[in-house]
Every structure is written in C-alpha cells, then in structure tokens.
C-alpha cells in the first residue's frame, strides 16, 4: 500500500470512528434531513398547481439531494478544522510530510464517501415516501457526483482557509447554503457552466430522469463539467495554501 493510500485509510478510519462515537447525533442528522425534505416536498405540492408540480417533482427530489450533499461537502472540512483547532490536534495534522493541504483533501474525500453511504438510504426513503422512482445508475452517477462536487470542494477549501485564520465562520455557512441553492435553481440557465454545482446538477438530473448512461451525455458537456470542477478545486486549494501561510505567519494555527 502506498504512503498516500495509508494516509487516506488512516483519515477515513478516524472520521468513521469519531462519527460512530456520536451515533445519536448521526441518527438525528439523518432524521432531520428526511423531515426537512418532507416539508420542502409537501410544502411545494400544497402551494403549486398540480400540473406545475408534476413537471417539477423529480427536480425537487434531485435538487434537494444535491443541495444537502453539497452543504455537507462544503461545511465538513470547516467544521472539522474548527473542531481540530478547538481540541488542539490541528497542529499535529500540520506536522506530517504530506502537509495540511493533502490531509484536508483526504478529509473531504472521506466525508464524501461517508456522506454518500448515509445519503443513499435517505434518498431511497425520499423516493419511497413520494412514490417517485428515479433511475439510479451508480456507475454513471458516481463520476458525475464527483465532478459536480469538485467545485463544491473548492469552496470547501476556501472556507477551510478562512477557518485557519478567523476560527469561527458559522455566519458564512448560512450565506453559502443559500448560494448553493441559488446555483441549483440556476442549473437550467446558460450561466450554469460558470457556477459551482449548477452544471453538474443539470447533467445529474438528465441521467436520473431519463435513465440514460454517462456515455449518452455530450463529451463537450462532460469536459465543461470537469473543467468547472477542476478550476474551482484548483482555486480553492490555492487559497487554502495561502491561508495556511498567513496562519503560520501570524502564529494562529494552534489558537482557537
């Protein structure tokens, strides 16, 4: 096993063990996501006309799923770094040959895998409750999810960088949540290729509604999605690196 694979396994196991040790919180999180979905879905059903609702019902499920996944993805690193700074382990994470950037990237990947595991049953429950069964072609959806969320991971790095300097940035999370919702709403518009998450949401929607495979999508669309993810991720990672430098210059890494 390569050293990076050992590092990923180490971080994944730690995240999993800590998540498990707060089992009650985990169950309550799953429940509250499901209850929030019920409010959104049936709230919209009550407000919209039956024809209009039938046209958008699938979009609500997909949009909600992506919104929740992206919120979890964008906030996990920041919460983790805040917690590590609070308990005093952040400096230990910085003292590895791989650097805090790689550690944080593996933290994001670990959270993605764990979130994915917990999101699937919620998603099935959502479809069971609404009676709307969407196509779940894992082999096609997983790469799209990864490319779509890569842009969100870029935002996650930016927020993580702010945490290293300012320590508490919960107020920014609320802004980001609405920003991501806005991106999902704009997924059908022409600007979606420039926004984080938006273009991926459109392509994921196409696959889940039509049942088509990844190969049926236009290669140009796929390339644009990859470029969008890579650019946001690259910028986010760069900003994170700069924030580490600022934090080290100001001696803030060990503070909370």
């Amino acid at each position: 096993m390569s050293s990076k694979a050992v590092l990923f396994k180490t971080i994944f196991m730690k995240e999993w063990r800590i998540l498990k040790s707060y089992a009650f919180n985990l169950v309550m999180s799953i429940l509250s996501i499901y209850i929030l979905f019920l409010f959104v879905f049936y709230g919209m059903k009550a407000m919209a006309s039956p024809i209009m609702f039938d046209n958008t019902a699938e979009g609500i499920i997909i949009g909600f799923l992506l919104w929740i996944t992206s919120i979890l993805s964008v906030e996990t690193l920041s919460w983790d770094l805040m917690e590590e700074a609070k308990v005093g382990t952040l400096e230990q994470l910085s003292m590895t040959p791989f650097g805090l950037g790689s550690i944080s990237f593996f933290k994001i990947l670990s959270s993605f895998v764990l979130n994915f595991i917990f999101i699937i049953p919620i998603f099935l429950l959502m479809m069971l409750t609404t009676g709307m069964w969407l196509y779940i072609n894992i082999l096609s959806l997983l790469p799209l999810f990864i490319f779509a969320l890569a842009s969100v991971w870029g935002l996650s790095f930016m927020l993580g960088g702010l945490v290293l300097i300012f320590k508490r940035i919960q107020a920014v999370f609320q802004l980001i949540q609405w920003l991501l919702l806005g991106c999902i709403i704009l997924s059908a518009s022409a600007v979606s290729v420039f926004l984080p998450l938006a273009f991926g949401t459109r392509l994921i929607g196409e696959i889940m509604v039509s049942g088509a495979s990844l190969l049926s999508l236009s290669p140009v669309d796929l390339l644009m999605l990859m470029a969008n993810g890579a650019i946001y991720l690259g910028i986010g990672y760069f900003i994170f690196g700069q924030c580490i430098k600022i934090s080290k210059k100001k001696g803030l890494l060990g503070q909370y």
Partner: protein
Amino acid sequence: MLEIQDLVKVYKNKNKKIRAIDEISFKIKEGEAVGILGPNGAGKTTTIKCICDLIIPTSGMITLNGVDTLKHPSLVASSISAVLEGNRNIYWRLTTEQNLEFFAGLMGKKVKKDRMDELIKNFDLTEKRKTQARFLSRGMQQKLAVACALIKDTPILLLDEPTLGLDVVSSHSLRKHIKEMVTKSKKTLLLSTHDMGVVKEVCDRVIIINHGKIVTDDSVNNLLSLFRTRSYMFLIENNPGAIDAIKREFGVSVKTINKKVEVLVNISNSNQFYEFTERLKSYGCKIDSVKEINPDFEEIFMKLVEEKDEQ
C-alpha cells in the same frame, strides 16, 4: 544537527510590535537532550513552533543537517515530532490503540504492532489500550500524547511543557518515562518546561530564555557547579557572645532552635572551611553536625533571569 541562527519572531498587534523571540541562536547535536527554561512569555513555545514549521519566523534560519527547513517543510515533518499542549494533542474519542494507529498513519506508515505494544507497555498503558482517551487520567493522556509522538519514529522529539498541570506522582512518572526513552532510543530531545526537576533529570544541557533572548546556554552540571555556593549548615550549641562575634567576622546567617543554633555559612575553598571550624572551636562552640547545602536549580534559574533583567 539542528541549528537555529538569529531567529526572530515579531508579532504585529494593531500598532504594537511584540518581539516574541529576539535573535536566538543555538545548536543541538544528534542524541543530545536539551531543555529550554524560561518564565511565561519568554519565547519558549514560539521557538519550538518555529522549529516545527508551525510558525514562520520573521527572520533567521533553521537548518537540519545543513538543510534549510523553512524551504523544505516536509523535511521537518519527517524528522521532527512534537507534543505541544500535552493532553490536547490526542483524540479523546479514539482509544489508546486507535490514537497510536492514527499518528503512525499520518506519516504514511502502517503501525508496527511490535512498536505499538512496546510503547503501550513502556508507558504503563497496557490495561487502557482499548479505552477511549477521554476516560484516561490527565497523566495517562499526556503519556499517550508522548507515545503518539514517539510512534512517528522521527529522530528528533520536541516536548512543550510535557508535565504541565500534572500532579506530583504523574509528573514524576512521565519524567521517568521520558528519561528512559531518551536513554534507550538516543533521540535528540528539545524540551521546554517550567519544571526545573524535569530539566535536571532528563537534559544534558539547558538554555534559559527570557524576554525572547537567550540568558544562558550551558550544560546542566556546569550551571550547577557555577553557582555552587558551597554553603554549609553548622548546628552548634547556643553561645550568644560567640555567635555575635562569628556573625561580625563571617557574615553568617543564624537561626536559633531551642538551645541550639543553626549557622549557615558560604565558604569558597577548603581552607576557609577549616579556618571557620577552628574559629568556632576557639570560641568554645561545640559543633553537633555539619551539612553541605547544595544549590537549588530553581534558585539558579531565578538568579540568572534576574541578573539579565538588571543588565
């Protein structure tokens, strides 16, 4: 060899500049155990964090075997492990074993079971190997933190206040383990502490820092002998006339206990010692006992810091 040259760290706080460390230079040879002593705010932790690449210094250079660590931070991480805030360096929700596994994994290495067993045994954590760190006593948590640093298997170990907040028994136990570890593994150790006992017991050399500057850098033995006052405590029978004469002649301090008198005298050589005893006899004072008083490391530290402040 770890070499620190003209290290300066200035923090800017609004309009104020604080020089946390001010042109500090020292070298640590391979396998050497060096203690950094200093009052609160002296610059000990900042120095250690600069060496660990957790704080970027304003100026100066840190080299490890001739390589500039500021330009090669990954070299620092693969060569130096540190315990920075005692029990805050471990995950309280992970067990002893899981913490050790995690910190070995951070180096990209799978934990060696033999090594883990050895550390758990050496730090008296055998019965707690499956216990979450939050259920361990503070002393055990600190031992675990040191074990987690050791499992990284780096040649240099930095310990920042390892015995801070521990009771006497736990502090003594951890001190014993650190000493054993230094002796057995021949690791290079840099240890910052308020605890003079730790330095005296564990370190070969001591660097005293105050206001960000090095006050002194010498071997522990040299410092002790430098300040060896050769004080002696004589217990004699009370003889007021004789005592007054001795006080005038030798400037001794005197304490009366029942019918006896304790006379504390500073003597610079053996001739003076014999001269003093002869004089006591000539005054008719019967000497009950003589005790040599060794200098206390804490007193030496305070004296050095105060002297530097006066300068």
